[in-house]
């Protein structure tokens, strides 16, 4: 019998999801321990974002189990589903900031209290991601891509959820801004003691953010291990992915040989 200490914060067992004729997830098994930062790598279209959305209940799964702190969360509805989602923050790939709201209302969207309290909390969270109070009243469209990512990061942590998902956190950013975002994520994970699940195909991001790495390919986790073991890994899929070689067992979607 496992002790409470050994219980994963997040666990997927045999998760399957099909879209039409395409089996995107074909038995994903994965566990993330409390306070751990796990990064899932994999090519475009391998189901990384789908995995996150299945966990959040945005996409129903076809088979398998998803457990958070030991409790099954598949099929939750109403208040139970809201309570499940309250345990997560999410940084979306494009930021997904609400265009019609100023920055401070985006950041404090899930917070309660008076407008003054929520604005103060938003400014605190903006400071945590390196942004000044002067951006609080701007619209998202007035910010650069990097600043939008920071605002989205501030929104993801604002309610202090115990688990945060980062969906391609550096996509579309220049290398310097990407490095700043990676460092911020690492600091937030350490400072706030959150459990983090990041999906990316940016290897620089993997090396900055990960405690442990898992590779998703063909709808399954084909390799997982600590970051230190990544470079010494002899799995040909992982080797091809981390070296970025066009030659190997992975065939990009739509490319015929």
């Amino acid at each position: 019998m496992s002790s409470p200490r050994a219980m994963p914060r997040l666990e997927l067992a045999g998760v399957k999801k099909r879209f039409g004729a395409r089996q995107v997830l074909d038995g994903v098994d994965l566990a993330v321990m409390p306070g751990e930062s796990l990064v899932i790598i994999g090519g475009s279209g391998t189901g990384k974002s789908v995995t996150l959305k299945c966990i959040l209940g945005l996409i129903p799964i076809d088979a398998g189990a998803i457990r958070v702190d030991g409790g099954d969360v598949v099929g939750l509805k109403g208040a139970a589903l809201d309570a499940h989602r309250a345990r997560f923050g999410m940084l979306f790939q494009g930021g997904a900031l609400f265009d019609s709201l100023p920055v401070w209302r985006n950041v404090s969207f899930a917070l309660g209290g008076s407008a003054a309290d929520r604005k103060a909390a938003a400014i605190d969270n903006l400071a945590r991601v390196g942004l000044g109070a002067e951006v609080a009243d701007l619209r998202p469209s007035e910010l650069s891509g990097g600043m939008q990512k920071r605002v989205a990061l501030a929104r993801a942590i604002a309610a202090r959820p115990p688990i945060i998902f980062f969906d391609e956190p550096t996509a579309g950013l220049d290398p310097i801004t990407a490095a700043v975002i990676n460092r911020l994520i690492r600091e937030l994970v350490s400072d706030l003691k959150i459990t983090a699940l990041t999906i990316t195909h940016d290897m620089a991001s993997v090396r900055h953010v990960a405690d442990r790495v898992a590779m998703l390919h063909g709808g399954r986790i084909i390799w997982q291990g600590p970051l230190a073991a990544l470079d010494g890994c002899d799995n040909p899929y992982v080797r091809q992915f981390i070296t970025g070689s066009p030659d190997g067992p992975i065939q990009p979607l739509g490319v015929k040989r």
């Binding site: 809201d82 989602r85 997904a96 609400f98």
Partner: protein, 257 residues
């Protein structure tokens, strides 16, 4: 046999689409009667739908009322019935042209805007972000738009009716030689409560159609910019057709006997 299969498939697809639309509208209506509500969202939508549509609805009614008076005068003169201009104009405007043209103009302006806004929110993951922030998109996005459209359309159509009648009066008194006081007295004598009530009922129904079609097509938008474009076109075209169909049904029910 192939033709039968094609017809059967088309009928099944159409019924499925009607079912999806009915479920969408039903869910939105259910959210309207269950808290929490978002009064600020409702007020903003009333301003966007009502106040900003006033110029286009008002000018349409003014020009159409004038043109209608001119045509009735020409037609009536052929059998010595030119004096019917005020009576037929007010009946035509209040029963048909005010609500129908007002509805079509608002559909062109508002249904397209709703579909484009929600469609963009869908493809940029803003709707997913709402869900992860524990906000029901039906409560936050759809229900306020439907309620606002149903509330402001009757007010818009009242203005449309008044300006349509005013357009007829202006042309009749300035170009056709009608006495102003007599024109207005005849107008008031022939205007019945049923005309106004049916006009307001039509307006509310058209408002419901516009908001539901705009939100439905935007909410289910996909496929990037092209998908949003398709959603916008479908929202406008389906609104137009349903407004004209609903107008026919209400007219037959109220005035058919």
């Amino acid at each position: 046999m192939t033709a039968l299969v094609a017809i059967g498939s088309a009928v099944i697809a159409a019924l499925a689409a009607i079912g999806r639309l009915a479920r969408f509208a039903g869910t939105a209506l259910l959210r309207l009667v269950q808290p929490p509500w978002y009064p600020a969202q409702i007020a903003q939508q009333m301003w966007l739908i009502g106040w900003l549509s006033l110029p286009v609805v008002g000018l349409t009614a003014l020009f159409t009322g004038s043109a209608l008076a001119q045509q009735i005068f020409i037609g009536g003169s052929r059998f010595n019935a030119a004096s019917t201009v005020p009576a037929v104009t007010v009946i035509g405007v209040v029963r048909e042209l005010g609500p129908v043209l007002g509805g079509l103009m608002v559909a062109g302006r508002v249904a397209s805007a709703m579909a484009a806004e929600l469609g963009t929110m869908r493809v940029t993951e803003q709707i997913d972000a709402l869900v992860t922030l524990r906000t029901d998109p039906f409560r936050w996005l759809v229900a306020p738009r439907i309620l606002a459209a149903v509330l402001v359309m009757p007010a818009l159509v009242l203005v449309s009716n008044a300006l349509g009648v005013a357009g007829g009066w202006l042309l009749a008194t300035q170009r056709l030689g009608f006495n102003s006081a007599q024109y207005l007295a005849t107008t008031a004598r022939y205007l019945e409560a049923d005309d106004v009530i049916s006009s307001l009922v039509k307006a509310a129904v058209f408002g419901f159609i516009i908001a539901v079609m705009g939100c439905y097509h935007g909410y289910h938008s996909g496929g990037g910019a092209a998908g949003v474009g398709r959603a916008t076109t479908n929202a406008v075209v389906s609104s137009f057709i349903l407004i004209l169909l609903a107008n026919l049904i209400i007219t037959v029910i109220v005035f058919g006997s």
